[in-house]
C-alpha cells in the first residue's frame, strides 16, 4: 500500500489546497497577536487519553477504532457521569476505569458521602492524581436527583458539523467535498431518543431509494430502575463479558499503560456514532431481577459488501465486506447495504456475592453466503457460509484485592476464543495486571471484539502485562509488555509471525498547574520483505519512539503545552521528530475560548511518521500523521452563546518543505453549531 492509498483509507492528513489568503492572514494575525491580549481555559484531555487516541490512529488494521474511541469520549463529555449517585452502572460508563476503580469510587461515595471537589478523587483508594485528572472532563459532581416535574421535562440538543478539507474536492466524486454531520437528541424522564445523519466528503447528501442521507441512524430508548432496565428500538450497541462474542464498542487491551482497559461491564446502549457497519438495528431489552440480569436483542442491519456471482451461475455470494463506510464513487455506492445481516441473541448473568457468571448466545444470518475466491493461503481459515452461531460463558470475581475474569466463546466450527485475566492491587499505590488470550485461526465473530492488538478477534495468542505505580507523591510510573503470536498467516505476512509491544511512562506532577510526561515505546512486528521477489521472506520491523511533553497552566485561563517526539524505525533506520507549542486561552469578559498550536516536523519517510492529537469540534477529531518536512498549525475558537448555543470554528494548515523550499500547503476549515433547549 503506498502513501496515498494509506491516506485514503484511514489517515487525516490534509492535502494540497490553494485557497484565498484571507483566512491565512486571519490565522497569522490571530496567532501572532493573541498572546498579547488574551487569557484562557482549556478543555484539556488527559495526556493518557490523547496518547491512546494517537496509538489507535496509528493502527492501520483498525481504522474505525479511533473514531469509536473519540466518539465515546465526546458522548461522556456531553453527558458526564454522575459519580455522586454511587451507582456502579453509572460510574462504569467511564470505560477507561478498571473494575477496581469503579467499585472503589462507588463504595467511597456510599461510605463517605458525596464528593464535593474533584481534588478529592485522588484520595480514593485505587485512584491517584493521574487517574483523577483523566476522568475530570467526563464527570459531574451534581448531587441532586431531579424531581419528577424536572425529569419529565423535554430536553433537546442538536449539533451540526461542517468540514472541508483540501484534497476531498475530486470532481469524479458523486457529491460535494463537504463533510456534514447532524445529531439530535432528546430526553424526557426515562425516555430518550435521537437521530444521527452523516455525509462523508464526496458522498451525495441524499441517495438511494427511498432517498435518504448516506448514513442515517435513529433510536428510541427507555431506561428504568425496576425489572425493566432498558428497552431500545432502533439502533443500539451492545457488549457482554470480555466482548469475544458481542462487543460493538471499544476493544480492550489497547493501551499498555492504562490498566483500565482490562475489564468491562455488560451494556446495551443507544447507538449515536457514525461508524456505519458495526452496530445493531432492531430491538434490545435488558431486565434485572435481584441477582439475575437478562438481555435480549434482535437486529436486522445491512452491511456494505462486494457481491459477485459464480461463472455459469446466477447465485450471488459475498466476496468481501467493505468496512470503510465511504460511498463517494459509483462502484463504492454499489457496495452500500449490499447484504442483510440478521443477528439475535440472549445474555444471562447471575451475581453471587463477589462472583458474576454469564452466558451469551448469539446467531448471525447473512442474506448471501460468503465464499473464498482465489488460492491465497492467508484466507484458508476465513469464514464461509451464511450462518454463524456463538456460545459464551464468562465470569468475573473480586476477592479482596484480586480481580479475576475470563471468557470462553465457541463457534459452530468448534473454533474458540479464550480470555483469562487477573488484576491485583498489592497496595493502593501499585496495580498489576495480566491478560492471556487465545483466538483460534478461523474463529469468527461479526459483532465481537476481544482484547488484543489486532482489530480481528482471530489468529492470535498473546500475553499482556502491565502495572501502574505511584512511586512518590508527585511521581507516577507505568509500564507494559505485550507479546503476541499469530499461528497462521495474516495480511502482509506470509508465515506465522509474532510481535512485541513495550512501553514505559513516567509522569511528574509537582503541582496542580504543571505536569511533565515522558514515555518510551518499543514495537516489533514481522512482515514480508517486499523488496525480494519470489517467495517472500520476513523481516523484523522495529519502531522505537520517545515522547516528552509538559503542560503548564499559567493562570486559570491560560494553558501552555510543549511536546517533543523522536522516532526511529529499523531496519530502514529512518527517523522522525516533531516539536510543537500549543496554547489555549479564555477571554475573561466574553465567553470565547481559543486554542492554537504550532508544530514543526521532520521525518525521513512515511514509516517514521508521527501522529499528533489535536483539539477539534465535538464529534469530530483530527490526529494528523505528520511526515516529510514542514509545519502544521491550527487555531480553533469556541463561542458560548448564553446558555443555549455554542459555535466553534477551526482552521488548520499543513505546509510541506521540499528541497529546502516551500512545497504544498494543505488546509482545512471546520464549523460547528450546537444548540440545546
Amino acid at each position: 500500500m503506498n502513501e496515498n492509498e494509506i491516506s485514503n483509507v484511514q489517515t487525516f492528513v490534509p492535502f494540497a489546497v490553494k485557497k484565498g489568503f484571507s483566512i491565512n492572514s486571519i490565522l497569522l494575525l490571530l496567532f501572532i497577536t493573541t498572546p498579547l491580549f488574551v487569557n484562557g481555559q482549556s478543555e484539556k484531555l488527559s495526556e493518557t487519553i490523547t496518547e491512546v487516541a494517537e496509538e489507535l490512529a496509528a493502527d492501520d488494521s483498525d481504522p474505525e477504532a479511533v473514531s469509536t474511541f473519540i466518539e465515546r469520549l465526546q458522548e461522556l463529555a456531553e453527558n458526564p457521569v454522575k459519580i455522586n449517585f454511587s451507582i456502579e452502572e453509572e460510574i462504569s460508563r467511564l470505560f477507561f476505569l478498571s473494575d477496581f476503580q469503579v467499585k472503589a469510587l462507588a463504595e467511597y461515595v456510599h461510605n463517605s458521602g458525596q464528593i464535593v471537589s474533584v481534588y478529592e478523587l485522588a484520595n480514593i483508594p485505587g485512584f491517584d492524581r493521574e487517574t483523577a485528572e483523566m476522568i475530570i472532563p467526563f464527570i459531574t459532581l451534581e448531587n441532586k436527583l431531579v424531581n419528577n416535574s424536572d425529569s419529565a421535562r423535554w430536553r433537546n440538543s442538536m449539533i451540526s458539523n461542517l468540514s472541508l478539507k483540501s484534497g476531498n474536492d475530486d470532481t469524479s466524486y458523486l457529491g460535494s467535498a463537504w463533510e456534514i454531520l447532524t445529531k439530535y437528541k432528546f430526553t424526557s424522564g426515562g425516555f430518550s431518543g435521537g437521530f444521527t445523519m452523516e455525509k462523508d466528503p464526496g458522498e451525495k447528501l441524499i441517495s438511494g431509494d427511498p432517498p435518504l442521507p448516506d448514513f442515517l441512524s435513529a433510536h428510541l430508548a427507555f431506561s428504568g430502575s425496576g425489572l425493566i432496565r432498558r428497552i431500545i428500538v432502533g439502533d443500539y450497541s451492545a457488549r457482554f463479558g470480555q466482548g469475544t462474542n458481542i462487543n460493538t464498542g471499544i476493544r480492550r487491551g489497547i493501551s499498555l499503560t492504562t490498566p483500565g482497559y482490562m475489564s468491562a461491564s455488560d451494556e446495551i446502549k443507544p447507538y449515536t456514532s457514525t461508524e456505519e457497519n458495526k452496530f445493531f438495528r432492531g430491538v434490545a431489552a435488558q431486565f434485572s431481577a435481584k441477582n439475575l440480569e437478562l438481555s435480549m436483542f434482535f437486529s436486522k442491519n445491512y452491511s456494505d459488501a462486494t457481491i459477485a456471482s459464480s461463472s455459469g451461475s446466477e447465485n450471488n455470494y459475498i466476496e468481501n465486506f467493505y468496512l470503510a463506510g465511504i460511498h463517494n464513487t459509483p462502484s463504492l455506492l454499489n457496495k452500500k447495504d449490499a447484504v442483510s445481516n440478521l443477528a439475535y441473541g440472549i445474555s444471562l448473568s447471575y451475581n453471587i456475592d463477589n462472583l458474576k457468571v454469564g452466558l451469551v448466545w448469539s446467531e448471525n444470518r447473512l442474506s448471501l453466503p460468503v465464499k473464498i475466491t482465489g488460492n491465497d493461503p492467508v484466507k484458508i481459515y476465513d469464514f464461509t457460509g451464511d450462518k454463524n452461531c456463538l456460545y459464551t460463558i464468562y465470569y468475573n470475581s473480586l476477592v479482596k484485592k484480586i480481580l479475576l475474569f475470563g471468557e470462553l466463546t465457541v463457534d459452530d466450527n468448534n473454533k474458540h476464543a479464550f480470555v483469562q485475566g487477573i488484576s491485583f492491587r498489592p497496595s493502593d499505590r501499585l496495580t498489576i495486571n495480566f491478560l492471556f488470550r487465545n483466538y483460534n485461526p478461523g474463529y469468527t465473530t461479526f459483532y465481537g471484539q476481544g482484547p488484543g492488538t489486532g482489530s480481528k478477534t482471530t489468529n492470535e495468542n498473546g500475553v499482556l502485562e502491565n502495572f501502574t505505580f505511584e512511586a512518590a507523591r508527585h511521581l507516577f510510573i507505568s509500564g507494559g509488555f505485550d507479546i503476541q503470536h499469530s499461528p497462521w498467516l495474516k495480511y502482509r505476512c506470509s508465515a506465522p509471525s509474532w510481535g512485541v509491544r513495550q512501553e514505559i511512562k513516567v509522569r511528574f506532577l509537582p503541582s496542580e498547574k504543571f505536569s511533565v510526561d515522558a514515555s518510551y515505546n518499543y514495537r516489533l512486528s514481522i512482515a514480508d520483505n517486499a523488496e525480494n521477489q519470489g517467495i517472500p521472506d520476513q523481516e523484523k520491523l522495529i519502531t522505537r519512539s520517545f515522547k516528552a511533553s509538559a503542560h503548564y497552566s499559567v493562570q486559570n485561563n491560560l494553558t501552555l503545552g510543549t511536546r517533543v517526539d523522536f522516532k526511529i524505525v529499523n531496519p530502514s533506520g529512518s527517523t522522525g521528530m516533531i516539536l510543537f507549542q500549543e496554547i489555549s486561552y479564555s477571554f475573561r469578559k466574553i465567553p470565547v475560548t481559543l486554542w492554537a498550536r504550532y508544530c514543526l516536523f521532520n521525518t525521513d519517510d512515511w514509516d517514521s511518521r508521527i501522529y499528533t492529537y489535536e483539539n477539534d469540534l465535538l464529534y469530530s477529531y483530527s490526529i494528523p500523521a505528520l511526515y516529510g518536512e514542514g509545519s502544521r498549525s491550527y487555531i480553533m475558537a469556541k463561542w458560548k452563546i448564553r446558555d443555549f448555543a455554542e459555535l466553534r470554528i477551526k482552521y488548520g494548515i499543513t505546509t510541506k518543505v521540499t528541497n529546502g523550499k516551500s512545497g504544498e500547503n494543505a488546509d482545512e476549515i471546520k464549523m460547528q453549531f450546537r444548540v440545546w433547549f
Partner: protein
C-alpha cells in the same frame, strides 16, 4: 570565477554551520554571552537575548545599545556584524536590531523592530517585525522578505523561567521567497544566586530537532563564566563576560565538530 567560488563556499558554510549560528541561517546569532551558553537564552534576561526572545525585552529597563561581531570559523567572509538598541518606554520596551552577514559578493542583512511588555506578574510577551535582504553579485536574484517573530516569557516562580519563541509563523504561500519557520522552547532556573542553568529545544522547518543546555556562573562580582552543549554537530561552547560600570564585555566560542571554532565578541553600553 573567484566570486562564484566564494559565494558557493559561503552558502555551503552557512548550511553546514547552523549550530554556530544558533538555528536557521537567516536570523542573526547575535550576542557573545549567548554564544557562551550555547544560545540557551530565550528564557534569560540579557541585551542580545531580547532579540532571541522579544518577551525578555520587558525586563530591560535601561537605555542601552550594543555591538557584536561573530567570526565564523575564522573566515572573514563569514563574519556577522550586529547592532542593537533598547529603549524603555513605560511598561514596555522597544528594540531595534540590525545585522549584516557576508562580504562584497554575498550579503545578507536583517533589520528588526521589536516591542516587549509585561502582561502580568508572571507573563511577558514580545513581537518583532523583520526585514531580510539577500544580495548576490552577478546574475543572481536579490531577495527581500518581510516576516515577524513573537515570544512569551513565563516566570512560574522567582527562580524559574520558561521561554517560548516562534519565528516566521507565516505560511510561505504568502511570499515569493522561502523563509524557514522555527520554534524554540526552553526553561531555566537559578540553582543558587550565582548559577543559572537552562535547557532549550529548537526545530526549524526542514531541519532536525536541536536540544541545547547551558549555564552561566557568576564566579566573581560582575564576572561570568559560561558553558553549553548542543546536540547539533555535538557542539560545545564556552565564554566569559565582565561588566565594568556601564560597559559589558563578552566573548564566546562555539565549536563545530568538523568546521572548527566560531568566536564572538560583544560590547554593551547601559546608559541609565
Amino acid at each position: 570565477m573567484s566570486s562564484l567560488l566564494k559565494i558557493s563556499v559561503s552558502v555551503l558554510f552557512i548550511f553546514f554551520s547552523l549550530t554556530a549560528s544558533g538555528g536557521d541561517p537567516y536570523r542573526p546569532s547575535a550576542g557573545a554571552g549567548e554564544a557562551g551558553t550555547g544560545y540557551v537564552c530565550i528564557m534569560k534576561n540579557g541585551f542580545w537575548s531580547s532579540f532571541h526572545n522579544q518577551a525578555t525585552l520587558a525586563y530591560n529597563n535601561s537605555f542601552s545599545f550594543g555591538f557584536n561581531y561573530q567570526n565564523r570559523f575564522n573566515i572573514s567572509e563569514l563574519g556577522t556584524r550586529s547592532l542593537g538598541l533598547i529603549i524603555p518606554a513605560g511598561k514596555a520596551s522597544l528594540g531595534a536590531v540590525y545585522s549584516h552577514f557576508g562580504y562584497t559578493d554575498f550579503k545578507r542583512d536583517m533589520t528588526g523592530l521589536a516591542c516587549g511588555m509585561k502582561l502580568s506578574n508572571k507573563i511577558s510577551a514580545g513581537l518583532q517585525v523583520d526585514y531580510f535582504s539577500e544580495r548576490t553579485s552577478g546574475e543572481y536574484d536579490n531577495i527581500q522578505s518581510l516576516t515577524c517573530e513573537a515570544g512569551l516569557l513565563i516566570t512560574p516562580s522567582e527562580n524559574t523561567r520558561i521561554g517560548i519563541h516562534i519565528f516566521n509563523p507565516v505560511p510561505n504561500s504568502l511570499r515569493k521567497t522561502f523563509l524557514p519557520m522555527s520554534v524554540r522552547v526552553g526553561a531555566g532556573t537559578y540553582l543558587n544566586k550565582s548559577l543559572f542553568a537552562g535547557v532549550e529545544a529548537e526545530m526549524s522547518s526542514g531541519s532536525r530537532l536541536i536540544v541545547r543546555t547551558g549555564f552561566e556562573y557568576e564566579a566573581a562580582k560582575k564576572f561570568w563564566l559560561r558553558g553549553g552543549f548542543s546536540t547539533d554537530n555535538n557542539s560545545f561552547s564556552f565564554g566569559l563576560g565582565w561588566l565594568v560600570k556601564i560597559v559589558q564585555m563578552d566573548i564566546g566560542f562555539v565549536t563545530h565538530e568538523r568546521l572548527g571554532v566560531t568566536s564572538s565578541v560583544s560590547l554593551i553600553f547601559k546608559i541609565r
